[in-house]
């Protein structure tokens, strides 16, 4: 049974957004990290890069496969989780604690198009 946290926004491609003021922390869900297996590399954008809702901004990779990261929201990257560069497996330890990028949201109304915890839980069938 995957961990799901109330109060976050969820995308169909298994990313989450944790909103704090005008900022959103984006990562992959516990369900996604479990499906992917051991994360061995995280391809992240750079600070000041623009991300667009529905478009890829990087990838998480297991030994076997690369899985694109789709941004649930649009905005400007203000921080990347540098700890993942040396220890990508942190995502497997706690996917919600170990967010991937922090974005300054350009359109908070995009959040309305995402799922809440209950809807996401329903989608993954748990």
């Amino acid at each position: 049974m995957s961990k799901i946290i109330d109060g976050l926004y969820y995308s169909e491609s298994h990313e989450y957004v944790k909103v704090e003021g005008d900022f959103g922390y984006i990562g992959i869900t516990d369900f996604a990290q479990h499906e992917l297996g051991n994360v061995v590399y995280v391809d992240m954008p750079e600070v000041d890069d623009e991300v667009t809702a529905g478009e890829d901004f990087g990838a998480v990779e297991s030994v076997k496969a690369a899985s694109d990261l789709m941004s649930p929201v649009s905005g400007t990257v203000v921080e990347v989780n540098e700890a993942l560069e040396d220890e990508p497996g942190l995502i497997n330890k706690d996917a919600f604690e170990n967010w991937i990028i922090k974005v300054e949201l350009s359109d908070k109304s995009e959040l309305d198009g995402l799922m809440d915890a209950a809807a996401y839980k329903n989608m993954i069938g748990e």
């Binding site: 051991n38 990779e61 030994v63």
Partner: protein, 365 residues
């Protein structure tokens, strides 16, 4: 068109063990039981067992068996005696690869061919077609055999202690037939991992029994996921990636398995001789990337702005902790030490041409 997916004799056991299953070469095969890294390391440092029952087997016998086998095979079977094994390829007349395979010399005119699962139908048709002009019997035996591979530094000990099979008399690339539970089985000192190890061909019921014994003894079950990372690090090609109908063994730089001067010639010989003399337009090279980004099959290889090739297989190597790859590139840029780059999604990473063997195999010669 969807074809019915096939299963090996061990399929129920994989499912019961909770393996992650996925279609491979028409079979529903275990990709991993625990995770690729754990299974990979078990083989490198201890011992692991693979279900490779999907592999195909063909036996060629008859007065012309030696002559015929040599005619469809790039290596020279006259160089080995009964009980020895050779690796090589079957080629199209233009030098493209039909398949890569092992040839076991059972007797003067008795050869046991082990072919890739994905190519079984194609290979058998190819062999049958060319056998018409020879006095041979071609017996397709894939359905009769299950196969396991016991691989790793503790493989010999495991074969003895768990399966009761003494393999101390076998050297690398030799085999023997023996009686096991009233049936004849084949045991060879071969594998696809870069470690010492054995492959066992036997009746499916015996293979199941052996699997159960190995599991009870705590031997790590290993899936196709780590089979690929292991063979890749050891510089071994996979048909479909490094060898294809378009990629000859000369292009892939496996010319040491192509005996151009052997007696009687072989299909594809003249094309290979020409490629060797003139140089192929492309060649397979090793690449080592800076950083941890992972080059994957199909990614572009660049020389400056120009696309000069593509990745055939790539990983962040588990045993040497580097991002490395095989790539098929223009011959002109393929010299050792040359700097190229690889496009990985939106970024471009510098890569140096290196030798294709990233991990030094530990075979018992």
């Amino acid at each position: 068109m969807t074809e019915e997916i096939k299963v090996t004799c061990l399929h129920d056991r994989h499912v019961a063990q909770g393996a992650l299953m996925s279609p491979f070469a028409g079979y529903d095969m275990p990709i991993q039981y625990v995770d690729i890294t754990t299974e990979h390391n078990a083989v490198r440092h201890k011992v692991g067992v693979f279900d490779v029952s999907h592999m195909g087997e063909v036996e060629i016998t008859g007065p012309d068996a030696a002559k015929f086998t040599n005619y469809i095979f790039t290596n020279d079977i006259n160089a080995i005696k009964a009980g020895q094994i050779l690796y090589g390829m079957m080629l199209y007349p233009d030098g493209g690869t039909v398949d890569d395979l092992l040839v076991y010399r059972v007797d003067d005119n008795d050869f046991f061919l082990v072919i890739n699962a994905a190519n079984i139908d194609k290979d058998v048709a190819w062999i049958m077609e060319h056998a018409k002009d020879f006095d041979v019997k071609v017996d397709h035996q894939s359905e009769q055999y299950g196969q396991i591979a016991v691989q790793g530094p503790e493989a010999e000990k495991t074969m003895g202690a768990v399966l009761g099979i003494d393999t101390t008399d076998l050297t690398f690339y030799t085999f023997k037939k023996l009686e096991y539970d009233g049936k004849t089985i084949i045991v060879s000192r071969t594998g696809y991992t870069g470690e010492d190890g054995f492959e066992v061909y036997a009746d499916p019921a015996i293979i199941c029994q052996m699997w159960d014994k190995l599991m009870e003894a705590g031997v790590q079950a290993c899936g196709l996921g780590c089979r690929d990372t292991l063979r890749f690090e050891a510089g071994l090609p996979l048909y479909g990636d490094e060898l294809t109908a378009e990629i000859s063994p000369i292009t892939a730089t496996f010319g040491m398995f192509v005996k151009l001067d052997k007696e009687g010639g072989f299909i594809g010989r003249d094309a290979c001789a020409q490629q060797k003399a003139e140089g192929t337009p492309k060649k397979l090279v090793g690449l080592e990337l800076e950083g941890k980004a992972i080059p994957r099959h199909g990614y572009e290889v660049l020389d400056g702005e120009n696309v000069v090739g593509y990745i055939t297989t790539g990983y962040h190597s588990i045993s040497v902790d580097k991002s490395v790859a095989f790539a098929l590139v223009d011959r002109a840029v393929g010299a050792l030490g040359n700097t190229l780059s690889v496009r990985i999604r939106k970024k471009v990473f510098p890569a140096t041409v290196v030798k294709k063997r990233f991990y030094t195999p530990n075979y018992k010669k």
